[in-house]
């Protein structure tokens, strides 16, 4: 069918900030969709509140709205732009939900906008679990038995029919919380009660559990001619009970006979037809009973998903792009396969390698929560690795994770050799039964301790085929130890290391990294590497080509493997390698992929061949048509060096991908690799605190008083000298968060005795902690002669709240001009002193008009995309050109940027996903993503940022205030303002007293410890619309914990800093002074 010409304007809704369960995969899919639709001549309107995305670049859509994804705002955009259609299936759950509510609220009818891809009916049928169940009944596909209940009584009546363990899911919970597995009647009662409580319609679904069954996913595509193809099958390594997002997954399915697979395929085809998803991709999850092959459908996502991104990268089939083309009327047979060119997209990819995805977790940031993996997703990112065998792929995936593990490193506790057999097997049992991020490694340990495969299976329920492969790995490990440990004692290890080349090559084919081999043989990475080179045990590179080599591939999308024929054939063009940022994690997310992609674009403009190296399947950078050549590889010395040797680039860029590639700068240079941009030497000066301190002194710039302690005594002395409070940065942490503010000597003692180790090998860095200081971020580009200041961002929250967690305003909203000019001056001085070529980010703290330098990052920073979009200058692109040798002068930079608007960045946090975690902010970053609010003044911009971050500020109602003593003064003004605006104020005793003294009318409420009904009851009863709560010191924080946690669960906006509260008040004022209007960034930046 030809494409539709009855529509010419299409609205795409993005997925908003990066949160657990919705990461950059939707930037990838949205960006592909925008490109695909514009390629076909459609006008694309885009709305997404996340500035750190490629899709919100002004070039990607015709009109780009960086605005809150709310019905109200999108309605305004629709009214203004009048699109004829919305493509709702590419913006994740957020985009889908937004589209649904627009439809249900009649907005789409009013402006006659059509839903293309999936109609409302289909979306509802797939999303509403009872409708889905009914649909499956109609086509004879089995689903787990389930019952909806509205009261504990009925719940107790039906449980016998369902049986234990039972899955309990609360309906329509805010923030998708609620839902747990009950193993016994007590838990059952508890979960039902909380479930009914959290469900706005007091309804929970009780579902038969199939924990331990095998879990599979199919990526399905359908077109308007009703052609249906399966793009990829995915088998979960972790059985049912661990969310697919948290499971290690493998493509294609490994342990299904064709008979079983085709049964699943037939079901998938029937399902997508019955649900009625017209065009595009859907993700369908199945479960299979390993005992008898019984198959159940678990759920369908009527949209592209995280798994679609994975499937696209795993097969080379661009699901999102094709989905977009199908939505506007094309059929699969009309769209060519980009990779093979001469064959159509209407086929099912055949792959001739094994793909392994491992999720990346960040529990280290949340020591107070359990690491158990459940049916709720907790991972913050993922890596994908490609190998010719599962063993090779899993090994590559492990080292892609960057968790300090170079393979199946043993996790056995020290002294275990002394344990009895019982103790050992007990230890292993618990480690194997409970799914946690470490279970993969515990399996290897179990084999090391001689546990049988069957036993391991009985505890873990992980398919024996996977277990066997891990056994093969540990067996080889043994063989290597046997044959090579002897004669390699420390004294003479490096000099004459030797290893049977056959064994070495086999180890490489089994996915062993050089570092891991070094550990096994008591040698070091370099020695192994050089020996490997001498014996010419080197990897080759093969194509990901969608067709298992049946047809020639035209797009160089490559992975390494230890085989014989290499398909890389590098060109002789001028080329540059850009190293990516690896898996998303807290502190290093999509922003860095954004910068890498811009680097690629800029270098292409300069005529270079661009080569991308990355291992994160969610990203735009790993799209096969972003760079000229894509290597889907781990970002380790070993793997990167092999690529460099193969490609022989002019140089390598390490400053766009965050710390991951930056860490490689010095070692790569040691291996004779040319690092482009700021020199490794200067990178090291900035990164090494001692060298950096010297530089600051030389330049006469202030740092917070600091010192470096090698012992507890030392630490106390230094702390005394500096004066409390101090900020501690240990180099070695015994678990839990690293940075810590301590207010007195006990605090210090406690911390040192409990949390960290202090020794000459593990010194602790001690800074004087600047209280109530304003923190400021500056991003700039330097070419070694000139420095372009992109933005000076004033943080809302004071120093002490990590820069990544505090909101910030561009331009600054309170600091005066001298300070700003001084900050710019210092930035220039530092940039030139470090001879920075490319990007630099500096964090300052301003206290009593004195400027302190907190840290300098000689690389792209988290705020680059935010700044670029706020000022309308593509910082990363320009930096890339400077790195390639251009001068800022030649790039006609705007002299000084005059902003006609204010941009506010706000962070979003994953607290809801982690039971028992406090929401107080500190020097350790905890946020997963950010949003941007753009408007004519600070108040409105901040208000929009809050809306986007899903904290809906109230315009009326009652505000609860409870603050620590030092805040009791500043809070007065806030309270006054709120009263003027017609809010009621309630407060806990102390705060209430302080306020009444200033004769502010306030209703006192009980603290949780003071009896009931207390503040928590009031929040639950919806009698509180806003919470302002600051707390200092362990006791106070524990006492007020439940307040913050309840506010979180009930989605009541809360502020844990006075600064935040002040800003909130200004925002509420702005909101009351008139409605918000919308402006595309193209309009904002018209010059």
């Amino acid at each position: 069918m030809p494409k539709r010409n009855d529509i010419e304007k299409i609205l795409i809704i993005g997925s908003g900030p990066i949160v657990i369960g919705q990461a950059c995969e939707f930037d990838y899919s949205g960006t592909q969709a925008c490109h695909a639709l514009r390629e076909e001549g459609y006008t694309v309107i885009l709305v997404n509140s996340n500035p750190a995305t490629i899709m919100t670049d002004p070039e990607v859509a015709d009109k780009t709205y960086i605005e809150p994804i709310t019905t109200e705002i999108i309605t305004k955009i629709i009214e203004k732009e009048r699109p004829q259609a919305i493509l709702p299936t590419l913006g994740g759950q957020t985009g889908l939900n937004a589209a649904v509510s627009l439809a249900e609220k009649g907005v789409l009818d009013k402006f006659n906008v059509e839903l293309i891809g999936a109609k409302l009916k289909a979306i509802k049928m797939a999303e509403d679990r009872s409708q889905f169940k009914a649909a499956m009944g109609r086509i004879g596909v089995q689903v787990p038995e389930s019952v909806y209940v509205n009261s504990l009584d009925t719940a107790l009546k039906i449980i016998d029919a369902i049986g234990f363990p039972a899955i309990i899911r609360a309906s329509f919970t805010l923030g998708g919380s609620g839902g747990s597995t009950a193993y016994n009647i007590e838990e059952y009662k508890e979960y039902i009660t909380t479930g009914l409580e959290t469900s706005p319609i007091h309804e929970v679904l009780v579902e038969r559990s199939v924990l331990g069954w095998k879990e599979y996913e199919l990526e399905v595509m359908r077109d308007l001619k009703d052609n249906v193809v399966i793009i990829c099958s995915i088998e979960n390594f972790d059985p049912m009970g661990v969310h697919t997002g948290d499971s290690i997954t493998v493509a294609p399915a490994q342990t299904l006979t064709d008979m079983e697979y085709q049964k699943m395929r037939d079901a998938a085809v029937r399902i997508i037809r019955e649900i009625g998803v017209e065009t595009g991709g859907s993700n369908i999850q199945f479960s299979i009973n390993p005992e008898n092959g019984e198959m159940l459908a678990i759920e369908m996502n009527p949209r592209v998903s995280r798994s679609s991104a994975l499937a696209s990268k795993a097969t080379g089939f661009p699901i999102a792009k094709i989905a977009a083309k199908l939505a506007i009327g094309y059929t699969l047979d009309e769209i060519p396969n980009d990779i093979t060119r001469y064959t159509p997209a209407c086929f099912e990819p055949a792959i001739d390698y094994c793909v392994v995805k491992i999720p990346r977790f960040n529990f280290d940031k949340f020591p107070d929560t359990t690491q158990e993996l459940t049916i709720h997703m907790k991972s913050v990112g993922e890596v994908m690795a490609i190998g010719r065998t599962f063993k090779e792929a899993v090994g590559k995936a492990i080292r892609s994770l960057e968790t300090g593990r170079s393979g199946f490193d043993p996790l056995l506790p020290s002294g275990i050799d002394a344990w009895t057999a019982e103790q050992k097997s007990e230890y292993l049992q618990t480690k194997l039964i409970t799914p946690t991020p470490d279970r993969l490694w515990h399996i290897a340990d179990a084999f090391r301790l001689g546990m049988s495969l069957d036993e391991i299976y009985n505890y873990s329920r992980i398919d024996k085929w996977f277990l066997y492969n891990i056994k093969q790995i540990t067996d080889l490990e043994n063989e290597i130890k046997q044959r090579h440990l002897k004669g390699n004692d420390a004294s003479q290890k490096n000099r004459d290391f030797a290893m049977d080349a056959e064994l070495l090559a086999k180890a490489k084919q089994y996915g062993f990294s050089d570092i891991f081999l070094a550990r096994l043989c008591g040698s070091d990475e370099k020695t192994i590497r050089e020996y490997r080179y001498r014996r010419s045990v080197r990897p080759v590179f093969k194509h990901v080509d969608t067709c298992a080599a049946e047809f020639k591939a035209f797009t160089p999308y490559l992975y390494s493997t230890y085989e014989t024929s290499c398909e890389a054939d590098p060109t002789t063009k001028r080329k540059i390698i850009i190293l990516g940022s690896g898996p998303n994690r807290i502190g290093q997310g999509i922003e860095f992929d954004y910068c890498c992609v811009h680097g690629v674009y800029a270098l292409k403009e300069l005529g270079y061949e661009t080569i991308m190296v990355n291992c994160n399947p969610e990203t735009v950078s790993t799209d096969y048509d972003t760079s000229d050549r894509l290597y889907f590889e781990p970002l380790t010395m070993e793997d990167v060096l092999e690529i460099i040797h193969k490609e022989k680039p002019e140089g390598v860029i390490v400053q766009f991908g965050g710390q991951t590639p930056l860490k490689l700068a010095v070692p790569l240079e040691k291996e004779g690799v040319k690092i482009l941009g700021t020199s490794p030497e200067n990178i090291d000066v900035a990164e090494d605190r001692e060298r950096f301190a010297l530089l600051m002194n030389r330049l006469g710039l202030k740092q917070p008083e600091n010192g470096c302690a090698n012992s507890a005594e030392d630490a106390k002395k230094i702390a005394k000298r500096i004066g409390y409070p101090v900020l501690l940065r240990p180099s070695y942490v015994l678990g839990g968060s690293a940075m810590r503010i301590v207010y007195d000597e006990q605090g210090l003692e406690h911390y040192i005795s409990h949390a960290v180790e202090v020794s000459p090998e593990h010194p602790v860095l001690i800074d004087s902690f600047l209280q109530d200081a304003i923190e400021i971020d500056v991003d700039a580009i330097s070419d070694g002669e000139e420095v372009f200041i992109g933005g000076v961002m004033e943080h809302i929250e004071e120093a002490g709240v990590h820069s990544g967690d505090s909101a910030c305003s561009l331009p600054p909203y309170s600091v005066n001009n001298e300070i700003i000019e001084e900050l710019k001056k210092e930035t220039r001085i530092i940039a030139l002193a470090l001879n920075v070529i490319g990007l630099i980010n500096i964090q300052y703290a301003v206290k009593d008009k004195v400027i302190y330098v907190l840290e300098v990052n000689p690389r792209a920073s988290r705020t680059i995309p935010f700044v670029s979009k706020a000022i309308g200058v593509p910082m990363a692109k320009i930096a890339a050109k400077v790195i390639a040798g251009e001068k800022l002068r030649g790039l006609n930079m705007p002299e000084n940027i005059t902003m006609r608007h204010t941009a506010v960045k706000e962070a979003v946090f994953p607290f809801l996903k982690f039971k028992g975690v406090d929401t107080l902010l500190g020097p350790e970053m905890k946020s997963t993503g950010e949003v941007m609010g753009l408007d004519k003044d600070f108040g409105r911009a901040y208000a929009k940022a809050q809306m986007s971050a899903n904290y809906c500020l109230p315009l009326v109602g009652s505000v609860f205030i409870s603050v620590r003593d030092k805040d009791k003064k500043p809070i007065v003004q806030i309270a006054k303002k709120l009263l003027q605006m017609g809010f009621k104020i309630t407060a806990t005793k102390g705060t209430a007293a302080a306020l009444s003294e200033e004769n502010i009318s306030v209703t006192p409420v009980l603290k949780v410890i003071e009896g009931r009904p207390n503040i928590v009851d009031h929040i639950k009863n919806n009698e509180v619309q806003l919470v302002i709560n600051t707390a200092e010191g362990k006791a106070a924080q524990e006492a007020s914990f439940s307040i913050r946690r309840t506010a979180l669960t009930y989605q009541i906006p809360y502020f844990t800093t006075v600064a935040g509260a002040v800003a909130a008040v200004r925002a509420i004022e702005a909101l009351k002074s008139g409605t918000l209007d919308v402006r595309s960034i193209q309009e904002c930046h018209q010059r």
């Binding site: 006979t257 005992e291 055949a350 792959i351 001739d352 085989e563």
Partner: protein
Amino acid sequence: MYRRVACVYELLHVMKMNEKKAILVLEDGTCFNGCSLGAAGETSGELVFNTSMMGYQEILTDPSYAGQIVALTYPLIGNYGINEEDVESYRLFLEGFIVKECSPFSSNWRSKIDLSEYLTKNGIVGIQGIDTRSLTCHIRDFGSQQGIISTVDFDMIRLQEKAKSAPGLTGRDLVAKVTCEKPYDWVNKEGAPHLSPRYKVIVYDCGVKYSILRKLAHAGCSVHVVPAKTSFETVLEMNPDGIVLSNGPGDPSVVSYMIKNIKGLLGKRPIFGICLGHQLLALALGLKTSKLKFGHHGGNQPVMDLSTKKVEITAQNHCFAVEIPSQGMLHKSSYGDVEITHLNLNDKSVEGLKCHSVPAFSVQYHPEASPGPHDADYLFDRFLQTMKS
């Protein structure tokens, strides 16, 4: 070629420690060192690669592979072992088997024995641990050719000679090797469906896959299988409602007796041709067949039904194909017009045809799948329809 081979040896020799060595040599001298899989010995045949990611058991038992050494492009094979149900014939007809890594451990609730054990039991000589992707690229670029696997002789020159002198597929009647000796009736394991057989179907066994018989029986036909050499008179005497020309190995043009039979049956009974059966029907109708560069072997081949313009993802396994008639998509035959009904979207080759004036149609691909998608199931109903009218 030889230079690459040398380095191939260097590295690939590697994994074969404590495993028995095996070598694969191609007609053109390309050589791969791996280790022995299945039976020891030496075997030669035409090399083909199959891109199906699952279904190795069905592939191994498919008689159409007679005369061929089959390489699987998916590297991890044997994971789910071998079961009792998924068989397509009573024995293994292929000449040899090539995989990257054969799993020594099988995991599946139906699995009875491991793949390697199964191959040994059935005397199949195979090789594993070679770079199957480079082999595939080689066949893709230079076309299919003879190859030899040996676990006894490692002299490349001598092996290359043997490979060259091995009989090719062209001009060789392999059907005679695989067809059944005497007629037999087929009944499905689960027994016939309750309804009494609606149609009596005779299946010409040119190397028939059991799944074709299963599908027919399941559709409510009484299924009678006859040897390929059975004369059409004999078949007509059995008074069937319809006739199925089965799949099978090799070059259709030399299976003259089948072509003769088909001519005798055209117009007398409804005919349904599958794969080789399709090629034989085409020949009987005066169309030409020829050998493809490396054939179609896999479960992801897109085929368009030209009447509905809908695409089905099909299972295929053939080296020869029907040529597009000189007069275009319509061919005038002594049995009336013959229409090309299906095309392969990858290479636009003929995938199906239909006679206008006599009840006969055929497809190049496998509606019985096994292994592969079930998209083409409907063809069996279509056959039932033609028998009704």
